[in-house]
Amino acid sequence: MKKILVYLVVFALISTFAVGCSSGGGGGAEKESKPEVVKIGVLFPFSGSMAALGEENFRGAEIARLVRNKQGGLWGKQIEFVKADAPDATAAVAEADRLINKEGMKVIIGSYSSSLSYAASEVAERNGVIYWEVGGISDPITSRGYKYLFRTVPTGSSFGIQAVKFAKAIAPDIGVKPEEMKIAIVHEDSMYGTTVGENAKAEAERQGLDLVEMVAYSAKTNDLSSVILKLKAANPDVLIATSYITDTILFWRQARELNFYVKAAIGTGAGYAMRDFAEAVGDDVNRIFNVDFPQLDTNPEFAKGIDEFKKLYEETFGEPPKSGHSLVAYAGALILWDVMEKAGSMDPEAIRKAALEVDIPDGETAVGFGCKFAGPDAENAGQNIKAYPLVAQWKNQKLVTVWPEEAAAGEIELPMKPWE
């Protein structure tokens, strides 16, 4: 007994000191000391409640790394990732600190969750390190006038706005006049859901649509029957919904149980994009829309290289991609490699300059939309102003991009089928 105590305390003490000596991050695959590597920090939630999509987001960047390394890497050197796990905002700050000040990272790719991105990018900015956001969508991330922060993905507000625009566009398909169409908005109440929901509301008001109900709830809940009964009483034609995966599944199962029917349901990302959703509710998923990052079934004419990505993903991870989160991270990281190649060094100043010069037209990337970053003086400094979300629809339990037309890989099917 005493012995165990001694071991325990010794272990605890050793680990305390080991923080100092540990090389950190079990990360990057190859660790043999090849002299010439380019090290880049990656910061995602690998544990905790956001781990599932965090991992998916990261996988895109990982594939981009492998692709680039096969092509000869950066400046002839192989790229290596130093991984950091940030389950919450406090850890994000600590890990960003570790990556920058202990591992000496000059570039960090992150972070799927908006809260983590918020907190970690602040550390990067203070240290003059590039923060390359390939997943978090909340608007305020790029509203702080940061110089070293770049985001390749569209903003949360554009998700909400796009959803309303799309709702208006499909009014004829469900047989109502746009001005008579009744819209309900439901969203989970964290930063992500609220940003999307509030913007959808504002856009609906701008467009003069009839907003009959707006409900917010905590994604941690274990029952949504009350939300659904509320919506059912409002009886909307179109539902715009924002939720994470658990509550998406719960919502649609309970919607069926309680016989809640809408003519068109428009999800906005996260849960609505995930294969798990389709697996959980089966054919009930069909005809639900998803306003989101470009999905895996986007027209390859529009999203160049998307098929190659899917193939690589399957080869690397032994399963098909779970959602577009990997795809956007893949495309985002590829842009970063080009920027760094052009900058010619790890110097953040040079990378920043090169990034600001980027101007990729639409249809040239694996996500379809092009890339141009807003300058440091802009309201949305560092935001890719060419990024916008697409609308996909679940067909035979697969997401197929249906809107806008140039990206479409399939036809819009409406209205929703009533529950049997």
């Binding site: 325990l8 605890a12 923080v19 690998f46 796990d85 809260s115």
Partner: protein
């Protein structure tokens, strides 16, 4: 139970050893400049301060609160809202946050003090959850679950700095402050009352101690410091959201450090934080990326082992050695008095 300890002066090792230790901590940034290590030290001080604050009610008085994140969060939100919406300096916000946390603590704890043991703990969990849910609900004031971003405008008046060194000293001073207050309480009459009511509440009441009053004092002091630590957190991380500052994981953490270090002792929480904070950071940075979750599992196993094998906390294990060391140190006059 010792109530009247020998008066300690600077030449007694009981005092000068900890003082030397703190002075040493003050000097560290002169040698170590790497912000990563400094950041870890800041976290250590931060959690030591919080855990010590928790220990005043949880350890001394034995009222196990698992809802302390509420007070921490109230401090963080008060000052952040005052600063962001009204431009009031966090220095004033700190006082406001601490006082508000204290008042809320008094208001919600007082009725709950009649609950004993596990029932009190359950009520604190419920209160913690209610506060979290309400903060999420009143979006107009708190921004709800979206979280509150504190814009970075460095300056001493804003309690925001470019480098980490000022944060280091702030956290260090905060920790020392809480430790000194804890020490004062532990040797005071109040400390004696708290310990006796922890051991036997009816007995304490029987000999005329107004137990509710002293518990109230303890929880108010505890919440005040938790609130101040919350303000520090907001100014350091610059982003707060209900999910993180009001989380039950946060509440548990304060208590864990104290338990593992040695509950009800002044040094316990500090020792706990000096071991656990680097340990969890270390486990996360070495295991986290490649093995999801494994680091927390190890953390849990450690916790169980400590609880089963060393219920008094690690500090007890060091105590004899530490006291032996003190005996050997220069001790001038004190020795005769003692013997």
């Amino acid at each position: 139970m010792k109530t009247e300890t020998n008066k300690e002066t600077l030449i007694s090792p009981q005092l000068y050893v900890p003082v030397l230790f703190f002075v040493l901590l003050f000097l560290i940034p002169l040698v170590i400049k790497n912000p990563f290590y400094i950041h870890n030290m800041i976290l250590i001080f931060f959690y030591a301060a919080l855990s010590s604050a928790w220990n005043i009610i949880g350890g001394f008085a034995g009222q196990i609160s698992l809802g302390h994140a509420a007070f921490f969060g109230i401090g963080a939100y008060t000052s952040a809202i005052l600063y962001v919406d009204f431009g009031i300096s966090p220095w004033i916000g700190m006082l406001a946050g601490g006082v508000l946390a204290m008042l809320v603590a008094a208001g919600i704890s007082y009725p709950c003090f009649k609950l004993r043991g596990p029932f009190f703990t359950l009520s604190t969990i419920a209160f913690g959850e209610v506060v979290r849910l309400l903060v999420s609900y009143f979006r107009d004031i708190t921004r709800g679950a979206v979280g509150l971003l504190v814009p970075f405008k460095p300056g001493i008046g804003n309690l925001m700095f470019r480098g980490k060194i000022p944060y280091y000293y702030f956290a260090l001073i905060l920790m020392i402050l809480v430790v000194v207050v804890s020490k004062k309480i532990s040797v005071s009459r109040m400390g004696f009352y708290l310990t006796s009511l922890r051991e036997d509440e009816e007995g304490a009441q029987a000999i005329g101690i107004n137990t509710s009053l002293y518990k109230l004092w303890a929880v108010m002091i505890s919440a005040f410091f938790a609130g101040i630590a919350g303000v520090f957190y907001a100014q350091y991380i610059l982003f707060i959201e209900p999910e993180s500052v009001f989380s039950s994981a946060m509440s548990t953490q304060f208590a864990l450090m104290s338990i593992i270090g040695g509950m009800g002792t002044v040094a316990g929480p500090v020792v706990g934080s000096f071991i656990l904070t680097p340990l969890s950071e270390f486990l996360r940075s070495t295991l986290g990326g490649s093995f999801q979750g494994l680091h927390f599992a190890i953390y849990g196993v450690l916790l169980i082992i400590v609880v089963i094998l060393m219920p008094q906390g690690i500090v007890v294990w060091f105590k004899d050695k530490y006291e032996a060391l003190l005996e050997r140190l220069p001790n001038e006059k004190r020795r005769e008095v003692k013997s």
